[in-house]
């Protein structure tokens, strides 16, 4: 190939990539910079002006409501992350490792994805008749004579938020783990077995370490989604559980843009730290 065509090809790929880069710069990068910028603006009751101030930042860290929301977000995130992992891993183990036929494991994964075709908000709302005092779970437990009084802590508590989020997000944990487990060379497991290793030992020494990149990818998916949540907590906690996302929504609702931005920056920082920590555990570029 002559130099002229190489140069023209290179120019060609610049033109191809440019629209996408511009779009992402304008509608992703600039908006996020905007959040940082506006968090230092001066907020009055009905107005906001670009005079720089730290007032909103001070207000965030001096108020129990806001710092409380930060800790609630971290707590709910950790609990949901642990739950999705504990509930999802055995499923992934079965789908990725124990099912021999590729067709069956694909079918199982598709079955896991079908619920996503129902609108997200309606899926969240469906937990209300499920968990309520006269909800499906209480009715079933009472019919089975396991309980005599309906359990009331099921709905409009932190527990209901955790249950709802776990159900909505656990599939994002199952998928990546099952994918990594499916790639394990079965001969390694056979070899370990021939050398007399029990299943527990094989699991901890071979299977689990090899599935770790999948766990990290799943954990990043779940973390990003749970940290940015506000709809599930709003609908299932009866406004008792306030996450950072809920603070942003209510602040924007009352036109407190500066406070919403401060909360947004804090959410971004938390998320960045979480993702960086996960990428520390496993070097994804090397594994995938």
């Amino acid at each position: 190939m002559t130099d002229v065509t190489v140069a023209s090809k290179r120019r060609g790929s610049t033109w191809l990539i440019l629209p996408g880069v511009v779009w992402m710069a304008l509608f992703m990068v600039v908006p996020i910079l905007m959040i940082c910028y506006v968090s230092f603006w001066t907020q009055t009751t009905f107005n906001i002006s670009p005079t720089p101030t730290l007032a909103s930042w001070k207000q965030f860290f001096s108020s129990d409501t806001y710092t409380g929301a930060l800790w609630t977000t971290v707590r709910i995130w950790l609990i949901v992350l642990a739950m999705t992992f504990i509930i999802g891993y055995p499923t992934a183990l079965f789908v990725g490792l124990f099912v021999k036929s590729k067709t069956l494991s694909t079918v199982l994964l598709v079955i896991c994805v079908i619920p996503f075709w129902t609108s997200f908000l309606i899926r969240v709302l469906a937990w209300r008749p499920m968990l309520g005092k006269e909800g499906a779970i209480n009715i079933i437990l009472q019919k089975l004579h396991i309980i005599s009084q309906p359990i009331e802590v099921l709905l409009f508590t932190e527990l209901s938020v955790v249950i709802g989020m776990t159900q909505i997000y656990c599939v994002f944990m199952v998928g990546p783990i099952a994918f990594m487990l499916g790639r394990i060379d079965r001969n390694i497991i056979e070899a370990a077995r021939d050398l007399g290793a029990g299943f527990g030992r094989i699991f901890w020494k071979i299977i689990f370490p090899l599935s770790l990149p999948g766990v990290v990818v799943g954990a990043i998916f779940v973390s990003v989604m749970v940290l940015g949540e506000f709809a599930t907590s709003g609908a299932l906690s009866g406004r008792k559980v306030n996450l950072l996302g809920n603070i942003i929504v209510t602040q924007v609702g009352s036109l407190k843009w500066a406070m919403a931005s401060v909360t947004g920056v804090i959410l971004t920082v938390v998320m960045g730290m979480v993702i960086a920590a996960f990428l520390r555990i496993v070097d994804l570029k090397q594994e995938l």
């Binding site: 090809k9 290179r10 610049t14 191809l16 990539i17 629209p19 996408g20 880069v21 779009w23 992402m24 710069a25 509608f27 992703m28 600039v30 908006p31 996020i32 910079l33 905007m34 959040i35 506006v38 509930i87 055995p90 499923t91 079965f94 124990f98 199982l108 079955i111 896991c112 619920p115 075709w117 129902t118 609108s119 997200f120 908000l121 309606i122 899926r123 709302l125 469906a126 209300r128 008749p129 499920m130 499906a136 159900q167 656990c170 299943f199 990043i220 989604m225 940290l227 940015g228 506000f230 709809a231 709003g234 609908a235 996302g245 942003i248 929504v249 843009w257 931005s261 959410l267 993702i275």
Partner: protein, 285 residues
């Protein structure tokens, strides 16, 4: 052997897991057949009826419960999803095509694009509305600001799908066309595009369904009530009392998704069959 014990246990566990995933959907389907207009969104079912389905289509006499305000919102959402689908897929195909050659800053550009699917909607939505509302000073609409955020969200998915397709793409057919003197654009249209079409379909499906159900970005980036998309209309009912009509609507939208997916499946099967037929003709020749 342990797996003889473990495998059945895990199989039972997976069944329980699937029940857990489907539980809410079963419950919402049952409750959507609740008697109306007095039956509430809870058990027991006082009487099985189609009342709430009829109400969605405006076939019931007016009652104290207002019908869901979904008509116009649905139209808006469909148009928005279509616009998003076209834009995101075009951008995705272009960028993936550019990534077939190494260029300076490609790693940076890659992460910048992928960021769009990683950053939570609350943040993109908030940032975009700050930009529009406070810095530039324009009114937010579903077809402007919300559209921009929807594309920024779905374009990374389209890009990754196309990247995966083009990674497995045999470039020698293109080179053959070029060496025969076919212009690059014609080559793309006549050779490359038909070959990557199944990927384009998947990218379109991703963009359409993600945009249709997109909620946090729209919440911030769309304007007032005349700008409501479908998820926003549903969200509007959160604050007031909920009725079984929302569950009936959920069942209907799920069926619609199934229909959409069937169309996708048929188109996919057709394109695979056509490719196979072409290959067979080549073999005969």
């Amino acid at each position: 052997m342990e797996s003889r014990v473990l495998k059945p246990i895990l199989a039972v566990y997976v069944v329980a897991f699937i029940l857990f995933l489907y539980g809410p959907f079963f419950v919402l389907t049952i409750i959507s057949f609740q008697q109306g207009p007095d039956g509430g969104p809870q058990f027991p079912i006082t009487e099985w009826s189609l009342y709430w389905y009829k109400q969605i289509f405006g076939l019931t006499p007016p009652s104290r419960i207002a019908p869901l305000p979904v008509g116009e919102a649905l139209v808006r959402s469909l148009i928005l999803a279509f616009m998003t689908m076209v834009t995101a897929t075009v951008l995705g195909v272009m960028s993936a095509q550019a990534f077939r050659r190494k260029f300076r800053g490609s790693t940076f550009v890659f992460y910048m694009i992928v960021l769009g699917m990683m950053v939570p909607g609350v943040l993109t939505g908030l940032g975009t509305s700050l930009l529009a509302n406070n810095v530039i000073g324009i009114t937010r609409h579903w077809y402007t600001t919300a559209f921009a955020t929807h594309v920024a969200y779905t374009y990374p998915f389209a890009f990754l799908v196309m990247l995966a397709i083009l990674n497995r793409f045999d470039a020698s057919v293109e080179e053959a066309a070029w060496s025969l003197g076919v212009k690059p654009w014609t080559t793309f249209r006549k050779v490359t595009f038909p070959l990557i079409f199944p990927g384009v379909l998947s990218a379109m499906l991703f963009a359409f369904t993600l945009s249709l159900d997109e909620f946090p970005r729209s919440l911030f980036a769309a304007g007032g009530s005349e700008d409501q998309t479908l998820p926003l209309a549903i969200y509007g009912t959160f604050s007031v009392e909920i009725h079984p009509n929302i569950f009936a609507f959920g069942v209907l939208t799920t069926l619609f998704s199934f229909a959409l997916l069937s169309v996708y499946g048929i188109l996919m099967a057709m394109s695979v069959r056509r490719a196979r037929k072409l290959a067979m003709q080549e073999d005969i020749a």
